[in-house]
Symmetry: C2
Subunit: 371 residues, 2 copies
């Protein structure tokens, strides 16, 4: 029994952050990159290939003991081909479909008796829902891409014609808060959650997270963790998953599932004894899961989005002097407007102060605050 | 102003652990390895070369903006040649000599008015000290290598003849405790220490550390941190340094200096807001230093030494189930008897429990406890 070799399809920031616990644990770790310049290539062995090409992916898998993913874009057919060739792939294709297709996910939530918003499929632009409503392309979207607010029938008809395929339509809810629960589960069924995370969105992109969710009742908090565990079991999850929820009228409805380490779990690198990245590795290797408890009362994470500044080093001179406890994570990506190029995290007791420092850092790095 | 490129001479576990904050900070990071199989090569770009060959080292330095070291073995002449060629090297040769030569260090401590044990140089085996005494080869030793307990004149004469060079002789003190203080200092003089660490030794090798030192008076604790800051300034330190001290009769004497990240600071990866590895990078880049405060009341680190077991993966099945909060660090080294092949860390409130779990893990991984 020696160290199993893990291969990750995708070499962006999630694979990059997963490389750290892989190396700490001594796990040989290789990423399957789209280009020689992907962010994870500087911290891991990498091969370049096309994840939609099953021959490429199978050749990569032959050099690994377990395959996992950092994104939902690998075609289900490729994943099934891996499985049929006897490759150990986690999450399994059977589970991964709930991350890859939002209609299949909605049906599964109904089957599990969990609250969905009112929803229906529509391929011709007809709907029984009231306007305004939300229309989603079932597969391939993230960070608000593939999601549309539709105000009237004309707009829906136009979208349906443009998309030329089935749409998922959902009622537009009077959202109070958006919450994410990270959960991990291993092949033999050990499962574990972290405290629920409040995700603060702007224009459909998460800009800040607060863990645990402030001002939430103990009952609701526990209920949400139980929901995450129920879904994990219900879909046969192996690895980590983000369960995204809306809080409406003091209760919740399911929004989306992401079967991978997730932006809403980045706080766990500093904020939890076991990060989502380490837990994912433990889960897919069927190792006992780590302690998910927090290292401080609060963890606040802020996404650094590309803005007018292109130099991400110079801001250190000011920010490190101002906030010595601020933790930086650069993704090794070129700065582009609105692109997630890194994140910062603060942990501590004083939530207001943590939020202020994270806000300041993010604005300063993105160039919203002038130097 | 863009990300400066850091090059590290040496590619063992210290460079490996330094690669993590380098990547988090977005710092291009390359290690100068002795072989293609060195431990840091899997997490960093690497070039293979001979660190005693100034041509090799200069060629490497030409690809970097700052050069640093993970060991004391680079010849002073090579470091000076780098400096004379205009390469930014930290720590500087001037400072590094106190880490490289224990006699020069003893003289400097005297100059700074800091307590040494009684000591003298001897090249012919004569001494005015009482037996038993400690004899040290001034350069090149670590982990107890190059350090001898000498019980009588015959043994000293024999050693002096064998070594054929100058020896540092020191009185053998009735040691109560061995303590290490990590300190960081940047080129413009910002300096910072972590709480003092108790290092527990067996056969001259550190087996466990406890931070902060339990049952130490506040006065002594502050005095020790001040000593570390005084030495850092006195030798013009840039980077991090371990100041190793002996506690004798409730006071202290200086033992050794190590001008690099040090085994006694490994606890800081999980136990401090800023680890020694991140602080070293901030210091050599002249960035503002990070917050060194602890993330928990205590941090206990245990070195995993090579023993009868050669499989370091299988122990995870038991240890992760028993102690979910235990953090593992594998160095990617082949198991050899007595070799440091990794370490484990626990942080928390209950010191006795932390020590027990670390002891158990280390014994279990080394094979002292049977499965």
């Amino acid at each position: 029994m020696s160290f199993p070799r893990v291969g990750v399809i995708g070499a962006g920031q999630l694979a990059r952050m997963m490389a750290v616990p892989a190396n700490d644990l001594g796990i040989p770790f290789t990423v399957f990159a789209s280009s020689p310049h992907d962010g994870a290539n500087s911290v891991a062995k990498f091969v370049v290939g096309d994840y939609t090409n099953s021959k490429d992916v199978l050749a990569f898998a032959a050099t690994c003991d377990v395959i996992t993913f950092e994104h939902e874009l690998v075609p289900a057919s490729v994943i099934r081909e891996l499985e049929n060739s006897g490759v150990k792939v986690y999450p399994r294709a059977e589970s991964f479909q709930y991350s890859q297709n939002k209609i299949i996910m909605r049906k599964k939530m109904e089957e599990l008796g969990l609250p969905n918003p009112k929803w229906e499929e529509s391929s011709d632009g007809h709907t029984s829902l009231n306007f305004p409503l939300i229309a989603k392309i079932p597969s391939g979207g993230y960070d608000g891409r593939g999601v549309f607010v539709i105000n009237d029938q004309a707009a829906l008809t136009q979208l349906a014609q443009g998309v030329n395929g089935v749409l998922l339509l959902e009622e537009k809810l009077p959202l109070e808060r958006e919450i994410s629960i990270m959960v991990a589960r291993s092949p033999h069924g050990q499962a574990s959650t972290w405290p629920a995370t409040l995700t603060i969105q702007q224009d459909g992109i998460c800009v800040q997270t607060i863990t645990p969710v402030p001002d939430i009742s103990d009952d609701l908090s526990i209920a949400l963790q139980q929901v995450a565990l129920r879904i994990a079991e219900g879909i046969g999850l192996v690895g980590v998953m983000a369960v995204e929820l809306f809080i409406v009228d003091g209760s919740f409805v399911i929004n989306e599932l992401a079967l991978r380490p997730h932006n809403s779990g980045h706080w766990s690198i500093e904020g939890a004894k076991t990060s989502q990245f380490e837990q994912h590795l433990r889960a897919i290797l069927d190792l006992p899961l780590g302690d998910p408890s927090m290292t401080a009362a609060f963890a606040v994470m802020g996404n650094v989005l590309g803005g007018p500044k292109t130099d991400m080093y110079r801001p250190y001179l000011h920010l490190m002097a101002r906030t010595p406890a601020l933790k930086f994570h650069q993704y090794g990506k070129e700065v582009r407007l609105g692109r997630k190029i890194g994140h910062v995290t603060m942990t501590g007791e004083n939530l207001l102060e943590l939020q202020q420092e994270v806000d300041h850092a993010v604005d300063y790095m993105s160039g919203v605050i002038d130097e």
